[in-house]
Symmetry: C2
């Protein structure tokens, strides 16, 4: 018997699925314990349907989703449309119709996952989305299956290929943000409106999902603070290098005494940190835990075949569970009460780049301000004096987010100081 699949959407990722089904048929059928068949494919309209047929695609294309939802033979619906609507409505209807659903839609899952997961549970069907985080890296299933015995204390991730490509160019080649963005757009890595990638929004979606799998806590998207790479200058990159660091956009989720903290921000990574050598469009998730200690999962964060491979792994898992009769199990069974960390309880070292008047005594003035917040310096560099203005760069010892906000407010209150940038610094 073959298991019938309905595809919603036939864009880049979706067309990777026939590739895998063809190139790897024997292994997939053996793993799924069944043949898998793409029974129907939803496309936007007749135009798209005719274009795909003319291009030689031999599927049963439909333009009305009900043809899939009302088809009792279709057991698995694969949503690869992206964005919130109509994906949310279609997935909801599919789950309500008792169909198992696979999706790669991180925006949707990060913002409406809770309701969809509950619905799937209530209906006793599967809702899997391995491809939603770090495309080709099998990180969600690994957290759910292999780190079950472990207690994760922190997840650090290079989770957005576009911004990582840009930061790699800015670090390795000294490019400006603008030049890096232009090239990313030319290469098709960045969209014409790159906001989601460069402002850390896309990475924050992924952090929401990782929080559930790593820590069993459901953090809402607006509880993940995000800061993008748009303010990073060649000066920041150069001083990072001088001090032994690489700047990358890093998602950082950790559990401290008071609860969970999740944020996305450009971060100083020590050059010998395993994440520091994750370059170009590659992604990686670095996990700190009490059992394994440190482990890292590296691979492509996007792309047709990598994403299709993760989608296909979900499909196979559903097929197996259909034959085992336990398809209703949650993708992630780890759930605890969600507690958000107090800002006073979330510590890190920080980099400050501050413009000060180019005259003596400025470092003393800065030190006095930091001292009122009980913040001490690990490293101080004075740079770029031009007679009028000088740049002071400080790497602090650890301070809390509360201290960070206070000291920035105090620095901003000083008329002749200008806080150019503050970035988190990893390392002991």
């Amino acid at each position: 018997m073959s298991i019938k699949i309905g595809l919603l959407g036939f864009g880049t990722v979706a067309s990777g699925i026939p590739f895998l089904l063809k190139e790897n048929a024997e292994k997939i059928i053996a793993a799924a314990h069944n043949d898998l068949e793409i029974a129907k494919v939803l496309v936007k309209d007749e135009d798209e349907k005719n274009r795909l047929i003319a291009a030689g695609h031999d599927y049963h294309f439909v333009t009305n989703v009900d043809e899939i939802l009302n088809d009792a033979d279709i057991q698995i619906v694969v949503e690869l449309m992206g964005r919130i609507e109509p994906a949310r409505t279609f997935i909801t209807k599919a789950l309500e119709a008792g169909k198992n659903v696979v999706s790669a839609n991180k925006d949707l899952i990060a913002t409406h996952g809770k309701e969809l997961i509950s619905l799937a549970q209530a209906k006793g069907v599967a809702f899997y989305y391995e491809a939603a985080v770090a495309g080709g890296i099998p990180i969600l299933r690994t957290l759910a299956n292999s780190l079950t015995s472990d207690k994760v204390t922190r997840i650090l991730g290079v989770l957005n290929g576009t911004s990582n490509f840009m930061m790699t160019k800015m670090v390795d080649e000294g490019w400006t943000y603008e030049a890096a963005l232009r090239t990313a757009q030319e290469l098709g890595y960045a969209e014409s409106d790159p906001t989601n990638d460069v402002e850390g929004i896309d990475a924050a979606y992924k952090a929401v999902i990782l929080s559930q799998f790593g820590f069993g806590m459901t953090v809402d998207f607006d509880q993940v603070s995000h800061k993008g790479i748009t303010t990073i200058t060649p000066d920041d990159v150069a001083v990072a290098q001088e001090l032994g660091y690489v700047i990358k956009l890093v998602g950082d989720i950790r559990e401290v005494a008071s609860g969970i903290s999740a944020e996305v921000a450009p971060t100083f990574l020590p050059q010998n940190h395993p994440l520091a050598s994750v370059n170009g469009v590659m992604n990686a998730v670095f996990v700190e835990s009490i059992g394994i200690g440190e482990s890292m999962y590296y691979g492509p964060g996007a792309g047709q075949k990598p994403t299709a491979t993760s989608v296909m792994a979900d499909i196979i898992r559903i097929a197996r569970r259909l034959s085992d009769g336990n398809v209703g199990k949650a993708f992630n069974e780890f759930a605890r009460e969600t507690r958000l960390a107090d800002s006073a309880d979330v510590f890190a070292k920080y980099y400050f780049a501050i413009n000060v008047p180019d005259k003596s005594g400025q470092i003393l003035r800065l030190a006095e301000i930091f001292n009122t917040e009980d913040i001490s310096f690990e490293q101080v560099l004075q740079q770029k004096a031009n007679g009028e203005e000088a740049r002071v760069v400080i790497i602090t010892h650890e301070l809390s987010k509360t201290q960070l906000e206070s000291v920035i407010a105090k620095l901003n209150a000083v008329e002749d100081f200008q806080v150019v940038n503050t970035l988190k610094v990893l390392g002991d």
Copy 2:
């Protein structure tokens, strides 16, 4: 109801299991859908038993394995004794008694896994061994569960922490092999007889197991060629660095047209290869596949808590499958006919270090010999002329193993040439 576990052996790894059960009790019980209880622990003799009790260990220690094998309440037997016997006999008896077995014993699984896996299948019980390859890295389950949809074409692994620690010291600090070994022994990373680690035997065991999970083929241990790091000199390390490479002991399993090839050998890795920055005792498995493309799994290769975490993940999986009623499923279901690659079909670039007389015309003589085997040079360096002898270093274009053997034989037949080392070179 709690699921009862019998431990065979209470050494370093085994004592990491109570740590996880205590520190992570809530998550483990939720994941296992059951409480887990260490019901009995087999130790060697009364002396060890008394010593452990005196040290405060509150378990039911037994000195006769039959007390575990004949205990109908024990559903999971965890073998952490190491070596072949009596582990092989005990596991065989446990499987015959219908018990599920978890083991971390790579030597045993690489050499007698086939019979144990068949026995487990025949008895409808589980036989899992995630910890046998790369300790804390969940690579086997990832290959079995997440890469099911993908076709793996090559697995490259830094699979032995001891030799990687030594190579890291030799590369980063310029240490000799002997100095690196001495320090590894002082730090407890290397045993007094380091043969298994430094000769690539331990890594070859892991390559056997990876072949099954990655390629569905059962390669015997003696079909994995292995070459150790004992012949690597500071000269080799220095010339590698000069040419942009790092030398590491790498397990290399790939499928070529004629079949599968598995070997362990010191290898020139391009400095920007993800495996090149895997340092110290860390391990990593780099997977090339048609779907994901390139992915890497990085973590500690050994150690109490990492290994115990992998063992615990196996135990949890068995507990879940016991409640699902499908515990008899194989750890790895991917199996194809095993075909070994022809040497003529396995290609790589190679590094040759050859001592020649210190007079003109030697590179021409070398080039003529390589030319008879149709091998061309990518790079040639002449080094270290002392008036009598000169060192010529060659990096070839790709050649087959057959060509490699022929050209080495021809070079060895020349009285005043001395082939000092030949190493595989990765990269385009």
